[in-house]
Subunit: 251 residues, 2 copies
């Protein structure tokens, strides 16, 4: 799934940060690194800090513009702690991860970019305007500026967690549907109109036996709330209506 | 809440990592740093990488043993990716964060330590055995070894997220209890015994009108499942039993 996700670093000043980013990416299962106008690359310091992620540096794609790096992307998300005078649509990192994993699950051809600005200044307004969303890491108001590789680590970690949670839900779902196949009689829920039909019949019976009168305006409301909460399926509603019909004949 | 949480680094080799840890801590709202036998501290490199978190370095407590650093702690959690031959009780970082925040909420005097081993080797078995739990960051199996400051960043981020989620739940709860006070008629749920009384009466009525016979063994089960799911409160159950009584008189 993560082969559709690229990490883009813009005008990175310290090559060590590029190395740290590569390691952090590989730790979370990512591999596609784009570098827009890095100051120094390749660099020994980058390789030293990349640890066992030298392969990511070796395959990194260097471009001359953000434009070029995101050209084929369907979703572009820019990490930035700074609020803008014209607020950009924003998502917290965790929600962004959930959205992107959902998106990739629905469309395995979607191309996604996470963009990180220069270390000191972050994303410029112009760069952010190329993003669909600003992604915010909920940091302490006392010190919101995370180191580049740290921000990248949190973002990729959240993507990995969202992916793992998606996997376990998919597994659960298929296990549940297996269970349902074996021993269940899960039926479709009754529609709103079917419920209304039931309430009319119930009301009519209760008036017939004088249980429902003018002095009990709340009673039907309470019964509605109760049966709506139970949200019967079609089979259950048929049983209930069968009982009402039998009772109407009896009284 | 986070003043009860300390970060302990054991035998850190590179002073730069201590600086990066201080910054990552402050970014997430933490301040208490313990250093067990650091190779070089204080150090210029630490200060350079700490950014605006120089105060954390200035207040850092240096000790000669892990023992000393955790002496007054109620919970000690050790970050480690390595599986041990004798498996230690373990928690994923997110679950550990939730547990700790819950713990601090219940007992604001609890002292908590998160312990990080030496960069190359991580926590030794002897060090881990001083911890109540091993905390695991779900990294990619291809490269599980995170940089020290990155692991610290994820752990403190998860604690912060758990804390923020706790805050918003507390707020929600108090808003809901406000709502309930204003316009609710939430009643106590019916007990198991009260539900059984209802089922006996219902069964008796259904036999009376010959709706429930020997050819319908599943019918009562379905009705039980339906009414159990609705989980009526005492008022609702009284209404239902009132209806049954009125019907029994009528038929």
């Amino acid at each position: 799934m993560f082969e559709n996700v690229r990490i883009i670093l813009i005008r990175t000043t310290h090559p060590g940060n590029i190395g740290s980013v590569a390691r952090a990416m590989k730790n979370m299962g990512f591999s596609r690194l784009y570098l827009v106008n890095p100051r120094t690359f390749p660099a020994e310091e980058a390789s030293a800090l990349a640890g066992s992620a030298g392969d990511i540096l070796a395959q990194a794609i260097v471009t001359n513009s953000l434009e070029e790096a995101v050209a084929d992307c369907h979703w572009v998300l820019g990490l930035s702690a700074r609020e803008r005078s014209i607020a950009w649509p924003s998502l917290e990192a965790r929600n962004a991860a959930t959205e992107i994993v959902k998106n990739l699950q629905e469309n395995d051809r979607a191309q996604i970019a996470f963009v990180f600005g220069q270390e000191q200044s972050g994303l410029s307004n112009e760069e952010l305007e190329k993003c669909h969303f600003q992604v915010i890491i909920p940091a302490s108001p006392a010190y919101t500026s995370l180191n580049l590789a740290q921000a990248l680590q949190i973002m990729t970690y959240e993507l990995r967690m969202a992916f793992l949670s998606h996997l376990s839900h998919t597994k659960e779902k298929s296990e549940n549907s297996e269970k349902n196949k074996q021993g269940s009689d899960e039926a479709e829920k009754a529609t709103h109109a079917e419920m209304e039909g039931f309430y009319i019949q119930l009301g009519s019976l209760l008036r017939q036996i004088q249980f429902l009168g003018k002095d009990s305006p709340l009673l039907m409301t309470r019964l509605r709330r109760f049966f709506n909460r139970a949200n019967p399926d079609k089979i259950e509603l048929n049983i209930l209506r069968g009982i009402l019909t039998a009772l109407q004949k009896g009284v």
